[in-house]
């Protein structure tokens, strides 16, 4: 597992059970709608993630962990241009945690820099 640095935590409490919120993580159309990007994600460990943003930039990566209705993590990096003009952004890890609370689900999202362990790029 790559080293992980601390990142900023974003939280929101949503008035629906974790199972409902989970559907918005793994359905590409629902994911795209709240994400604000054309999103595709294969919700299995090792599956691909691909986000196309309005500015034409692309973020591509790999699903790291899937715990249904509890936890989804992926790593991704920005990719601009193609061929010799290809520029890669810094790789980060996105962690989405769903926790059942009295009034629904606490959603916690953390994006943190990913220090690539040698040989796993």
């Amino acid at each position: 597992m790559p080293d992980q640095l601390p990142g900023e935590v974003h939280e929101e409490t949503i008035g629906a059970p974790p199972g409902d919120v989970w559907g918005f993580m793994v359905d590409p159309a629902a994911l795209s709608a709240w994400f604000g990007a054309d999103a595709w994600l294969d919700p299995t460990a090792g599956g691909g993630v691909l986000f196309r943003f309005a500015d034409g930039s692309i973020r591509r990566g790999t699903v790291l962990e899937v715990e249904r209705s509890r936890r989804l993590t992926w790593r991704w990096r920005e990719q601009r241009g193609v061929g010799f003009g290809l520029a890669l952004g810094e790789a980060t890890r996105v962690t989405i945690e769903l926790e059942p609370v009295d009034d629904g689900t606490r959603v916690r999202i953390t994006e943190s820099p990913l220090v690539q362990a040698r040989g796993t790029a």
């Binding site: 974003h10 929101e12 409490t13 949503i14 409902d20 918005f24 604000g36 943003f53 500015d55 959603v107």
Partner: protein
């Protein structure tokens, strides 16, 4: 017409300016063919000289068009920077996690 001096990066005047098909045609003409006169623009667009002048004034207010030269034979040119600013605004909106979480909340709760 009310003259306003838009804040740098304020997208409102730009979006208002772009909301009209003739004004978009004026921008395209200026962007494609470079600086030109009102008479020349009028020849290339299916509207009256007065209408083109009015649209140019709106575009100028939005910072999308600049003028040079004397009143007679004045040249109008396209200045694209406000478009870039407006594009940045579009991209920045909702690009952060807090905006995404707020949208997720609204969309989940609407369906619940």
């Amino acid at each position: 017409m009310t003259q306003r001096s838009p804040e740098p990066g304020d997208p409102d005047p730009v979006f208002e300016a772009l909301a009209d098909p003739t004004r978009r045609a004026v921008i395209e003409a200026l962007a494609d063919d470079g600086p030109t006169t009102l008479s020349d623009l009028t020849r290339r667009l299916p509207v009256t000289r007065q209408a083109v002048a009015k649209h140019l004034a709106v575009l100028q207010d939005a910072g999308l068009v600049d003028t040079s030269g004397p009143v007679r034979g004045r040249m109008y040119s396209f200045t694209p920077q406000p478009l870039t600013d407006a594009m940045t605004w579009i991209v920045d909106v909702g690009a952060g996690w807090d905006e995404r979480l707020a949208r997720l909340k609204r969309q989940v709760e609407r369906r619940a």
